[in-house]
Symmetry: C2
Subunit: 207 residues, 2 copies
DNA sequence: GTCTATATGGGGATAGAC
DNA sequence: GTCTATCCCCATATAGAC
């Protein structure tokens, strides 16, 4: 009984620590975040926290890994599927945007890491580039077929990235301009519609 | 003579400090940057640095102010001018992109600040919002005239922001995908062309 | 297994030497 | 006017108490 409750409690604590770490790292990056602040957010004392984690570096690696793993599994892009460019691009934008809106903090951790020089992404790039090249090749083939206006697939991917990532990184600015939280269903739907429309139109597809 | 040389030297030192501060703050944000690292980068000892600056907060304020001032003066957008939508949008994208490519570190400082919660931007938002609303109104009037496809001017501005800012914030990713530094003239020109094309097309303007 | 007391270094900043 | 010696605090991390 005692052991049972204790184990359960430990899981809860670990969950709290992880949430706290996500919040702090996403705001201040690896260097800027303090284990102190993470501990407080998880309702622990700093010295307690250090019992539950290996060290700051490992905790960060775990959190950063969560983002990278999510993205790896989400953005498969169905390279083989025989979707139309319109369907495929819409779907890609929608999935990436949904992730940005639903996991803004995790998304920001990646941005912070890139801004900080990306030293902890070394192992990540090869896989990411491979996955991206597949998407780029698909886009370029659509261009060759005349399904899209002439453009460089790499830039289209980069631009979609930029546009979707904006909604997690610049939530502050966006909410100020829209005078509403991005989580409001009507705002969210409007963003999704307009963004998809913007990308499709930008790629040379009619409404 | 002595005084003269000394004064000159001080200016040079201040310049070095500022450059160092820009580099460090842009990588690690306010919290993450250390006066130690700034001092070293400026070839000073930490204790020396603290003679030349008021404190870390003031140094940061100065650097952040540089970005905000640049943007205030650059993006006037000629609200009154009778440019065509095509000309006005192209010009806006070009100017903002040029700034991102030429001052990536300064641009990143703003992004880092927003990611960190933007506490030090409180005084900045009102002016920025005012300037932005003027642009938005102009865009919306073009939509009303049928010069642009139906869209929300606020979102178009946000999207242009996202796209241009990407080239400073995600330089790392972009250079990896393009397999070239963004400073290479041919790459730079290609980005400018494609980005402007993407925005114009996305806003419903033909090539 | 959990937490506390404590070590050690680096953080920002200053009083006072030159 | 410039720089050094030094302060004090907070950072991360751990050895050992419970």
């Amino acid at each position: 009984m005692r052991t049972e409750r204790s184990k359960q409690s430990r899981q809860e604590i670990m969950r709290k620590i992880l949430d706290a770490a996500i919040a702090e790292f996403s705001q201040h990056g690896f260097q800027g975040a303090s284990t102190q602040a993470i501990a407080e957010r998880a309702q622990l004392k700093k010295s307690q926290l250090h019992y539950y984690i290996e060290d700051k570096e490992a905790l960060y690696a775990q959190v950063l890994g969560m983002v990278l793993d999510s993205w790896r599994s989400f953005f498969v892009f169905d390279s083989d599927a025989k979707q139309s460019p319109r369907e495929a691009l819409s779907e890609f934008v929608r999935v990436k945007l949904d992730y940005a809106l639903e996991n803004p903090e995790l998304s920001r951790i990646f941005t912070m890491e890139v801004l900080s020089g990306g030293a902890r992404l070394e192992n990540y790039w090869p896989g990411a580039m491979e996955a991206t090249h597949a998407k780029v090749a698909k886009i370029n083939s659509w261009v060759a077929e005349g399904a899209l206006r002439p453009l460089d697939g790499r830039l289209l991917i980069m631009h979609i990235w930029a546009l979707t990532q904006y909604y997690s990184d610049y939530t502050l600015q966006a909410e100020m301009l829209l005078e509403s939280p991005l989580t409001a269903p009507d705002v969210r739907q409007k963003i999704e519609q307009e963004l998809i429309q913007f990308v499709l139109s930008g790629a040379g597809l009619r409404a």
